[in-house]
Amino acid sequence: MLKKLTATLVAGLAMLFPVAQAEVTVNISQGVLKPTPIAIPSFEASGDNVQLAADITAVVQNDLLSTGLFTITPQSAHIQRDLSINAQPRFADWKIIQTDALVVGEVDTVTVEGVEFIRASVRLWDVYGEEVMRLEGQAGRRFTAKPEDWRRIAHKIADAIYTRLTGEDPYFDSRVVYIAETGPKDARVKRLAIMDSDGANVKYLTSGTFTVLTPRFSPSNQQITYMSYENNRPRVYLFDIQNGRQEVLGNFQNMTFAPRFSRDGQSVLLTQANSGNSDIFIRDLVTQGTRRLTDHPAIDTSPSMSPDGRQIVFNSDRGGSPQLYIMNTDGTPLTCPSGGRDTACRITFGSGRYSTPVWSPRGDLIAFTKQTSGKFHIGVIGVDGEGERLLTEAYLDEGPEWSPNGRVITFFRETSPGAGPKLWSVDLTGRNLRQIPTPTDASDPAWSPLLN
């Protein structure tokens, strides 16, 4: 009994005071953020699906590469060729070529009730951890769609991988609506166009008979609001994507412009001009009621709502030059970041002219256009007016719009007078500036929410 007690005491003491052993401790406070090397071999397929599998693989690669956050290991460097989605890869072969993650996919076709579908399965492997990386809680993902929607399957796969490796919300499976421009400057044709987020599948929504501007997606993905000069009368319209119907928004006597949906999609913010003055209104799409949000002799325009719907940011020259202001949607006073309480608080104080503010889907930043020293910039600033950063600089950069996850900003740029506008995108950090390919000149891009 005594021996047992002694042994227990000794064991307890040993647990409390482990034998001193030499150890080395390394502290690193900041890493080196660099693109993650990822290998995406061609998805496995058979028969007619081989080409389809190669196409899906290419879209996945391009999506991930476009973020600037990944480098794709060239397929010529791959050592293991006999990959199977149902077998564990030989991790040593992938470590040699310094790949962090490995995507293994398979494409086949299935027939359900006489209708043929394509089916793509994918697994993501952690090469150094030597284990499968769970995608949305699953050891793998399988997507099924009609053959014509094969690109959406590819975008979905890319989204799953992107989200798993970066922690960001997805955005590849989304669309961009923009103004397609053709013809000479004095007879410019401007049409409403829509395309996939990577520039593929361009479709024109309007004929070009009337000039259209500033399209914006609704959160439901089914509607687009924009400004049209139909019958030489600039007014805000609604476009239904499913049936192609267009209708004027409200029966405003005066010019209306700069529309944007509220976060719940139930209302549209817009600007109405009256005798040289312009103010911001909100139009309820259900009740058809309109409410004035600003009432000031200065020009107030370009409203954008915060994600929680409680505030808006807008552009006003009430301070002497175009600057950005925030206000409560219900018009009640708020405590301004610069001190005091007011119904509208100015958040930009830098030199130059600020315009086209857009509240980030994340809620913490506002993107804007800034004109200063003969140059245009796309920038971001905190909602408290702190931390202004200019991300781009060009002869003309204008019209920023956030990607659905708030990570990327798209805008249009003219590199020189008469060069014609093109669509561009830039990462929130200011890196990875790249042009989005479009068949024609393009301006006023707007990102849709993520597709269902």
Binding site: Q21, A22, E23, V24, T25, V26, N27, I28, S29, Q30, G31, V32, L33, K34, T36, D100, D126, Y128, G129, T166, G167, R362, T429
Partner: protein
Amino acid sequence: MIRGIPASLLLHAAVIGAGYIAWPYVGADVLEEEFVVVPVDLVDLGEITNVAPVREQPEEVEPEEEPEPEPVEEEEPEDPVEEEPDERDIPEDDIATSSEQSAPEETEDDVVPDLEQEPEEEPEPEPEEPEPEKPKAPNPTPKRNPLDDFLNDADSTFESERETKRRTDPPKQEQTEIKDITPAQEPRKGAGERSANTVRIEQMLYNQILLCWDGVDDQPEPGRLNVQMRAQLDAEGNLIDVELVRPTRAPIGDRSMALAIERALRAVRKCQPYRLPRDEYAEWKIMNVNLGSRFGDTGQ
């Protein structure tokens, strides 16, 4: 005279102006020529010099390498007992062979002690050998000339007198001088414990892991994403095991923390094998790796 003053002023102004313009460029070419780009691999040194131990080899090496000359003796005619003359002749080879043979052994451990030990071994036998050899060498030649013989005899008498004086006089000062010299030639203990490498293990690990860790700056609230790990390594620098210390696992629903843990583990795994001095394996067998803004950088 009236013309001379403006001319002088102009001349001085021209000289000063030329000097003002040319002076900044004087020697600039030389500096550019001397400027050579040298690729440098920066390694931080420890605060305390702590090099590998200096072994007292002069005494230890000789007996170890005595067996080598023995086969040489065996080839020659029988000299079984008279080891004293052999030791005087052989050490010249011994020193050479010992320095050649011992060098690679020591370089494996550490380069620094070799540089200290080699010059220490050589001077010890050299001053001993020339002393007996020098009187032997001049002896055969001077016997032919009587004048030389006379002078040599005189020298020898003077020397014998000096030797007798040395023997009779108390040799305290000379002995103390010799004692002072010999320790200086023997390996002296420098600063530090001499039990480890001068470059800190932490710094070597830091430099390697830093390149493998992507960080968490792209995540919201990166300041809270701190990961502590404990890893066990084998002597080759490969990872035997790595475990999370804090947090012990990814909190459910915290995507950023899960990602931070994943990146931290990947960094430790990706960096192996770690290039570290094997003779100090005991020191880095277990390593704690802390990644995150909460932790100050190692050695900085």
